[in-house]
């Protein structure tokens, strides 16, 4: 028969073992739950970005249709009216009339280009390469920027949804080059390698300090690009330094 001392010893051992088991079990549950929570949050974030992009696409589509159907039509009618004027005897008035016709014509062309760049369906119709070419042409036509599009390898057709996402990222990068980087020259490269499709946008702008973006509001655009890349399972790289321009790369697995 065990003595009271032995009984206490057994009690301590058993209690310790059971408590250790309990703690291990709870810790296991904590680890599993945290892991699942992390995964669920990442999934939700992706869903939210997806929804956000869909809303944005829908808004752009509506604006694009409005430009095409309303403003475009009004300007076309205005141009038509201008064309009905007979030749004016006063040379100065005639010159102003011709200039106005030309300006209205340019406005129609610019609006058509903007409308095309906004409409997601049109982007997938013409393809990513053509859509980027159009964007660069608009910049080039403004006479303030030098642009270049380089295509390496055969043209590659991305999934339509991915195509729109990549195109929006390129648009964002071009806007950043113009607005923030004050670039004069922009180079876009589409590279189709064996297992990757890479889109690079390089400018000769003022560049910036990457660390300063972590806490500032100006980093939102780049964060959005990063999120969009994640949604299409792509990788987003940025390489920049103050005074040395900016290079952005979007790499997609084929």
């Amino acid at each position: 028969m065990p003595s009271p001392g032995n009984e206490l010893q057994i009690g301590i051992i058993i209690t310790t073992v059971i408590l250790l088991l309990l703690v291990a079990f709870i810790l296991f549950l904590v680890v599993v739950f945290r892991d699942r929570q992390k995964k669920a949050r990442a999934h939700l974030e992706k869903e939210l970005i997806n929804a956000q992009m869909e809303i944005q696409e829908q808004t752009l589509k509506t604006i694009s249709q409005e430009i095409h159907d309303n403003i475009g039509q009004v300007l076309s009618l205005a141009k038509l009216n201008l064309n009905t004027f007979s030749i004016h005897p006063d040379e100065k008035v005639q010159l102003k009339l011709n200039d106005t016709k030309e300006l209205v014509g340019k406005a129609i062309t610019d609006l058509r280009n903007i409308s095309r760049g906004m409409h997601g369906d049109k982007i997938t119709d013409i393809g990513l390469q053509q859509a980027i070419e159009n964007e660069l042409r608009i910049l080039e036509n403004s006479g303030q920027y030098n642009t270049e599009l380089e295509v390496v390898g055969e043209e590659y057709k991305l999934d339509p949804k991915k195509e729109i996402v990549v195109f929006r990222m390129v648009q964002e990068a071009l806007q950043n080059s113009i607005k923030h980087a004050k670039a004069k020259s922009i180079h876009v490269k589409l590279e189709n390698s064996e297992n990757k499709y890479i889109v690079s946008i390089t400018d000769n702008g003022i560049g910036f300090n990457k660390e300063s973006l972590q806490s500032s509001q100006t980093g939102i655009g780049l964060k959005n690009m990063q999120n969009r890349a994640a949604v299409i399972n792509g990788v987003f790289f940025i390489n920049t330094e103050p005074g040395h321009g900016t290079a952005i790369q979007i790499a997609l697995n084929k």
Partner: protein, 220 residues
């Protein structure tokens, strides 16, 4: 009477006090039933301690407590689960357990011994339900923190309590026979039983403290 003999009623009493203090956190029907369960358990354990000290046998009380505890926990799992299938399984299990307990109590085992068959039936049921509930809390419910939920902690307590009690309570009638050879084993198993019983009430206390009323505690 030593403190050791009445330590479990004291722990249950502390649990009752914690639970009453946090009554605003729970729905009225659940609060009432769980409180009745805790108070009845307190009375059972207290009377059992007195009867074993003064009469020598407290098995009748424990046999009744097997039923009340089993049904109270079945209700807890029924309350927390929203899945129709699980609710149905719980109702069927609880009904079968009730019928089995009546048969066991009246016809199968002696009145002065513990109804070990009924206990085993209840233990297997409740351990399974608690495992299902823990699984659902952790794996199917990523946005509601289970650690802020009384039912999650109670499920852990029930799992440990019933699994830990199985070896002791299932063999108590054999161990109770005066046999020095099994004495050491009986002591060890009794300690396990005491520890896991304490863990159950400890988990209820932790759950009561951590429970947040805004947490959606229903499981799909």
């Amino acid at each position: 009477m030593s403190l050791r003999e009445i330590y479990l009623p004291i722990i249950i009493l502390i649990t009752v006090l914690f639970f009453i203090k946090a009554k605003q956190k729970f729905g009225f029907d659940f609060f009432l039933i769980f409180l009745i369960y805790l108070i009845s358990n307190f009375l059972v354990e207290l009377s059992a301690s007195f009867s074993v000290h003064y009469i020598g046998n407290n098995m009748l009380l424990y046999n009744i407590s097997i039923l009340t505890e089993g049904l109270a926990f079945c209700y807890t799992f029924y309350y927390v689960n929203n899945s129709f299938l699980i609710k149905k399984i719980i109702v069927i299990s609880a009904t079968s357990f009730l019928l089995f307990w009546v048969i066991d109590f009246c016809f199968m085992q002696k009145n002065n011994s513990l109804d070990t068959y009924s206990y085993l039936f209840s233990a297997i049921n409740l351990a399974t339900f608690s495992l299902i509930t823990i699984y659902k809390f952790v794996f199917k419910n990523a946005f509601n923190n289970p650690f802020h939920n009384l039912f999650f902690w109670t499920s852990i307590g029930i799992l440990f309590c019933y699994l830990g009690n199985i070896p002791y309570l299932a063999s108590i009638n054999t161990l109770a026979v005066n046999n020095w050879k099994t004495y050491r084993m009986a002591i060890s198993l009794n300690i396990i039983s005491q520890v896991v019983n304490t863990i159950l009430y400890l988990m209820i206390i932790i759950g009561t403290i951590c429970h947040r009323p805004e947490t959606n505690y229903k499981l799909e």
